[in-house]
């Protein structure tokens, strides 16, 4: 499912539509894995961009919760070299100095000698006034416009995370920022992360409404009794190593599709497991225990497969056509027995060597049409 999500983000926007948006939601119980899912999506997307398979030319990461180094290192581990990173990834660093304290301190020390804090990496830009959302928007689009390429230059945006932004700005202003980004003509896709239990329930809902896809990271096991009592250590232990990754995809026509897979940590990497083996076991045990046999034995199954059904051409050399009621066969290929104008009293299955049963069929009258789902009055011009 993670691939499906990344594919959607990769394919980008259609003309006349807003950019597809993904909300990744996690709660405290599995937050490190939710963060891992976010990193995974960002890295998978960046490698698609680097390979030139995506609509977007680059990815702008607005990093609040983690140091930009974490992103770059993770992407490098995923096989992106420094060259590709410099070409396709820009990071707006709202982590190391979100309120400009460090700059303030430095300015005090240098008595107004505004020496600019230079970052050693060229693809990291430090942003120092997170309370100013409009400026954040213009910074982001400016970074996105810098990617190389011909034609219309699309870019994608990752925000990690909305929860940290919400500490500095109101819900409407952040929603406004996301909507503006989605409708920006150069934005190909956008994804963000939110910690659902840090806010009132309506806040994550508000952001889900803005998105086309929602990925919830939920604990694999839920303790029915209580949250974090020390008695359920095995459950806690399980939830820190493996969680459920549930995706809701909203189609353009309004259809919502649910998908789910397992997400776990393997070494220092994030892995997805799309075969939820547990649910198969559950399904098997859910078949009711009954005294009579519901399953067919092998012999019964082969016997059933050998039964020749009456509406098939039965071995007279013609290819077998099964009339499904939707399309009519060309006139010439129709069974002459059925289309013959004369009254057909009996239709015999052609005998071809082996002894087979016969099916006798008597038509009641001429009025009766050959078996068909079609409207008999279709050709009348009423």
């Amino acid at each position: 499912m993670a691939e499906a999500v990344v594919r959607c983000l990769r394919d980008g926007r259609l003309d006349g539509e807003h950019a597809p948006a993904l909300a990744v939601e996690g709660s405290l119980q599995c937050c490190s894995l939710a963060a891992g899912a976010m990193l995974h999506i960002a890295a998978a997307f960046a490698s698609q961009v680097a390979a030139g398979k995506a609509q977007a030319r680059g990815l702008v990461v607005v990093a609040f919760d983690r140091s930009p180094q974490v992103y770059l290192e993770f992407m490098q581990r995923r096989g992106l070299d420094a060259n590709a990173l410099n070409r396709c990834v820009r990071i707006l660093d709202c982590y190391s100095d979100p309120l400009g304290w460090k700059q303030k301190i430095q300015n005090q020390q240098h008595q107004g000698n505004s020496a600019k804090l230079s970052t050693n990496k060229e693809n990291i830009t430090v942003y120092r006034s997170v309370k100013d959302v409009t400026k954040l928007l213009s910074f982001t689009t400016e970074l996105g416009g810098d990617f190389e390429g011909e034609g219309k230059k699309y870019f994608s945006v990752a925000v990690d995370s909305i929860s940290s932004m919400l500490r500095h700005a109101s819900v409407p202003s952040i929603s406004g920022l996301l909507s503006n980004l989605r409708s920006h003509e150069q934005v190909s896709s956008i994804f963000w992360m939110i910690r659902s239990d840090l806010h009132e329930p309506k806040v994550p809902r508000a952001f889900e409404c803005l998105s086309t896809m929602v990925a919830c990271v939920e604990p694999a096991l839920v303790d029915p009794v209580c949250g974090e009592s020390p008695g359920n250590m095995s459950i806690l232990e399980q939830n820190y190593s493996k969680v459920k990754f549930i995706v809701r995809l909203k189609r353009r026509n309004g259809r919502v599709k649910h998908l789910y897979e397992d997400l776990y940590i393997d070494g220092n990497d994030i892995k997805f497991d799309s075969a939820p083996s547990v649910s198969i076991e559950v399904n098997q045990s859910l078949v009711p225990k009954v005294q009579f046999n519901l399953e067919l034995s092998e012999k019964e199954r082969s016997d059933r497969a050998n039964v020749v059904l009456p509406f098939e051409h039965q071995g007279n050399g013609e290819p077998i056509r099964i009339y499904d009621g939707r399309r009519s066969l060309p006139e010439a290929q129709r069974d002459p027995n059925l289309t013959a104008p004369a009254l057909v009293d009996e239709m015999k299955a052609p005998k071809s060597g082996t002894a087979k049963g016969e099916i006798h069929y008597f038509r009641d009258s001429d009025d009766e049409q050959p078996d068909s789902d079609e409207d008999p009055d279709d050709d009348l011009d009423i």
Binding site: L28, C31, S32, G36, L39, S67, Q69, V70, E73, F74, Y95, S96, D97, P98, L99, W101, K102, K104, I105, Q108, R167, R195, D197, L198, S229, P230, G231, M233, L236, E237, Y240, S241, I265, D266, G267, N268, D269, I270
Partner: protein
């Protein structure tokens, strides 16, 4: 069980990679002793520490740690321990707003960390806050300012390779509305140590139970390490004992 100092359950459970440690306690089972142990450990391993004290004055920690075999006055004279008495940390009394005061406080910590990094004895630097709930009080209830300050300290840990230890009283955040500070701390923590009274009631020889949750990061190589630990503790004059339930009479 052995004394604190190597091989005991707590250090085994803590591992070595945790950058942000959050100690949660409640009135029935204070977690200050964990903080004392961590302070001793930080200084004993040749590192330096900055201690932001709001709960107790310096003389208190000095006495407690001396019993445990660690001379805080000496460390302070050697500039290994930097002690900030913030009991009188003013909200609006002095010039500037609360945010400005936090900027200054952060400035001092950052300077210390940088100095420690460039100095000859470049050991591990630990920032200890005792405790975050009182920090909120001296900030006149402005959770946002506290969180901003904590974020900057948190950013220090990844940039300057130092450790942050925060004590917080869990039970004052019991109701849903003002849970913000506690939840934020849990989010940024790599390691949560939670002290609670015994679930089976009071006992003479056991003072409470500790649960340690090691959330870990992807950078770590220890893939299959145990993540959740649970054991009992007994606080003594010169340290603390840790043992699994049922192994003591």
């Amino acid at each position: 069980m052995e004394e604190y100092g190597g091989g005991d359950l707590l250090s085994e459970a803590m591992g070595s990679a945790a950058r942000v440690v959050v100690v949660e306690d409640c009135v029935e089972a204070p977690g200050a002793f964990v903080l004392h142990l961590l302070l001793k450990r930080a200084l004993a391993s040749g590192g330096a520490a900055a201690f932001l004290a709001l709960a107790q004055p310096f003389s208190h920690y000095d006495r407690v740690l001396r019993k445990m075999g660690c001379n805080l006055s000496l460390h302070r004279r050697n500039e290994r321990l930097h002690f900030f008495e913030l009991l009188g940390f003013p909200g609006g009394a002095r010039e500037g707003t609360i945010a400005d005061r936090f900027v200054q406080l952060y400035n001092e910590i950052q300077r210390l960390v940088e100095a420690n990094r460039t100095g000859e004895n470049a050991g591990q630097f630990t920032v200890i806050i005792d405790d975050a709930s009182l920090l909120e009080i001296v900030a006149l209830g402005s959770v946002n300012d506290v969180l901003d300050f904590l974020h900057y300290c948190f950013a220090l840990t990844s940039e300057m390779n130092c450790t942050l230890v925060v004590l917080i009283h869990e039970d004052i955040y019991a109701d849903e509305e003002n849970i913000g500070l506690l939840l934020h701390l849990r989010y940024i923590a790599d390691l949560v140590i939670k002290a609670a009274p015994l679930s089976t009631g009071l006992a003479a020889d056991v003072h409470g139970q500790l649960s340690v949750v090691n959330k870990g990061t992807f950078g770590e190589q220890r893939a299959k390490a145990q993540k959740v630990w649970n054991f009992h503790f007994k606080v003594k004059e010169n340290g603390a004992d840790f043992f699994y339930p049922g192994t003591r009479h």
